[in-house]
């Protein structure tokens, strides 16, 4: 990993030295400029053939691109120089860094060099965090639903208003209908706008620092496919050192790093309690039935749910690649949210109280299984397994601590005739006006028909 990380930087540096544009080099070796860009930013690892082609084009030996005797400091400085060159004139220094004298610089001013390298690493880490935030904002289900409402209302208004303005000879019945449309859609637009403003206000209050430690943890786990393979063998010293040394970009806050270390502790304990081979064997024999697997192997159901959602089977090609998971405490506060295709979990506030996850809280240790249909413009069905597990961390005299977990699987029986329990994501984006558990009005003015 480290070696390939160096390769991209070296390619970028050599290319800049030769005054080649990214697009020209990419064309010369028969790859797309976008792919070369990924390689140069060390996001993709070039194979040996491609590396040889790049080396030939850059007039160096392949080994010069893939290996080097210089330490991390040189690489960090090269990275900084390449980034400055990319930022273009006005963004970086007017005089380009003297790459050919990098040894002299490091030799004479090791302290300054180290500072420069550290600053560059910090900037890089922050840039990735900002990218992550932007992506998560785009995935916010409330904003997505609001945007769809606004666009639909505006689309309707625009077409209808144009018809009314441009058609001289429109029949009276159509004219009346289109007037009514304009009235309806303007009401819908103003209601959605009010909802958006209220939501953005609460967003500002909730987010003093743009993100919560839990979100940082989730972003880190999502980037690793939600499973840390090293926890299977207990060989997590390297990852732990990287986390503790603030070397993981997604885990920017100390609280998030503490959460990540606690997550590793727990994942290791769960891997010992339910090793991957035993889980795989039980899955093959009993199918994706967590309750049966728990009974068969004598493992707590909550552990089985977590292993199915976060264990080795969840990776690409795993038996349960598409499984989602939500964990919460007795106050309903999220402990972990792993989304799955078609189901983006709420970022703020409480979710739908009808979720089996919350139902499980009232019946500790009782396994719950329910097929649910999540209301929305596109209703989605899932099969949920949930259980709440009590613990007494201060002994039996102390308070009981409850943790609930819910495994979310794509519905194996997509027949719409099968009964499913209607639930939502959160009241504000739920279009079920008749829901008895409704906490606050929805911003979706139109219910599903």
């Amino acid at each position: 990993m480290v070696r390939s990380a160096l390769a991209g930087t070296r390619i970028r540096e050599r290319r800049s030295l030769r005054g080649l544009r990214q697009a020209d080099l990419a064309r010369a070796v028969g790859i797309s400029p976008a792919y070369l860009n990924l390689i140069e930013h060390n996001r993709r690892r070039p194979g040996p053939e491609l590396l040889a082609a790049l080396a030939a084009e850059l007039g160096v030996e392949p080994i010069a691109l893939s290996e080097g005797s210089e330490g991390a400091l040189y690489e960090a400085l090269r990275e900084a120089a390449a980034a400055a060159a990319e930022a273009g004139p006005g963004q970086g220094a007017d005089t380009p860094p003297e790459l050919d004298r990098i040894e002299v610089f490091v030799g004479r001013f090791p302290g300054w060099a180290a500072l420069l390298a550290a600053q560059r690493a910090r900037v890089g880490a922050l840039e990735r965090v900002v990218e992550g935030y932007a992506e998560r904002m785009a995935q916010d289900p409330f904003l997505g639903a609001s945007l769809h409402e606004v666009l639909s209302a505006v689309a309707s208004l625009r077409s209808t208003a144009a018809i009314l303005a441009e058609s001289e000879d429109i029949e009276p019945e159509w004219r009346a209908r289109f007037h009514r449309t304009i009235h309806e859609e303007s009401l819908r637009l103003s209601a959605t706008a009010e909802g958006l403003v209220a939501y953005l206000d609460t967003l500002e209050e909730a987010e003093t620092g743009l993100s919560s430690p839990l979100e940082e943890l989730e972003a880190w786990l999502a980037g690793r496919g939600w499973h840390v393979p090293e926890t299977e063998t207990g060989a997590t010293a390297g990852i732990r050192a990287a986390i503790a040394g603030a070397g993981v970009a997604e885990l920017a806050s100390r609280a998030a790093r503490a959460l990540a270390l606690a997550h590793l502790d727990r994942a290791e304990a769960e891997a010992r309690a339910l090793p991957a081979p035993a889980l795989a064997e039980a899955l093959a024999r009993l199918g994706p039935a967590p309750d049966r697997i728990a009974a068969d192997l004598g493992v707590p159901l909550l552990t089985v749910l977590r292993r199915l959602a976060l264990g080795p089977a969840t990776g690409a090609g795993g038996a349960l690649g598409g499984a989602g998971y939500v964990g919460c405490d007795a106050a309903g506060g999220f402990l972990l949210r792993k989304p799955l295709a078609g189901l983006t979990l709420p970022r703020f506030g409480a979710a739908c109280p009808l979720w089996p996850l919350y139902q499980a809280l009232s019946r500790p240790l009782q396994p719950m299984r329910a097929r649910v249909e999540i209301a929305g413009r596109i209703p989605q069905r899932f099969l949920c397994h949930a259980v709440a597990q009590p613990s007494w961390p201060l002994g039996l005299d102390g308070p009981e601590v409850l943790e609930a977990g819910m495994l979310i699987l794509p519905d194996p029986d997509p027949d719409p005739g099968t009964a499913a329990q209607p639930v939502g994501l959160a009241c504000r984006i739920c279009p079920r006006p008749e829901c008895l558990a409704r906490r606050e009005p929805s911003i979706l003015t139109e219910g599903l028909s």
């Binding site: 945007l147 077409s159 719409p416």
Partner: protein, 167 residues
């Protein structure tokens, strides 16, 4: 207005008479799949005035069921539909031999590149982002029909005529 799966909200209002189809030109049939009633009404009005025979379905399942009866020349398909998404319906259309080559205009409420990419892979013929200008919609469906008829006549090497269209 066709009977069958048309929008109940519109059943009391007769569609305006067509104009563009005068002069013995073949009927141009369009299947509109859109869950937003008000948008569907506006589109139906516009296209009917342009000489199209419009059949409207509120969701994809109804659209797939109505396909044989509707025998459309062009499909206008909303991206965000209740039940099965527009993308799924597009996939189902492309999987059927009778509609594999049918021109499909996708309406996207989100002009996002990711959605368009997915729709392109699934076989969308063209896109129109909401909100759209009415002229843009008319131009898009006319263009799709012209292209399909040109392709059909090129394949069968017969001059364009009533037999050269869809069906």
């Amino acid at each position: 207005m066709r009977s069958g799966r048309t929008d109940a909200a519109l059943s009391g209002v007769r569609a305006p008479a067509g104009r563009g189809g005068a002069g013995g030109a073949p009927a141009r049939r369009l299947l509109l799949v859109e869950d937003e009633t008000n948008i569907a009404e506006a589109i139906r009005f516009l296209l009917s005035r342009d000489g199209w025979e419009v059949m409207h379905c509120r969701d994809g399942a109804a659209a797939l069921a109505a396909l044989a009866e509707a025998r459309p020349d062009v499909v206008v398909l909303d991206f965000m539909l209740p039940g099965r998404s527009g993308l799924e319906i597009l996939g189902a259309l492309r999987a059927r031999p009778e509609s594999a080559g049918l021109p499909v205009l996708m309406l996207t409420a989100r002009g996002q590149a990711r959605d368009r990419e997915a729709a392109l892979r699934a076989g969308a013929s063209a896109f129109l982002a909401k909100p759209f200008a009415n002229e843009a919609l008319l131009a898009a469906v006319r263009g799709l029909l012209d292209a399909a008829r040109a392709a059909a006549s090129a394949v069968s090497a017969t001059p364009p005529g009533p037999a050269a269209g869809q069906g």
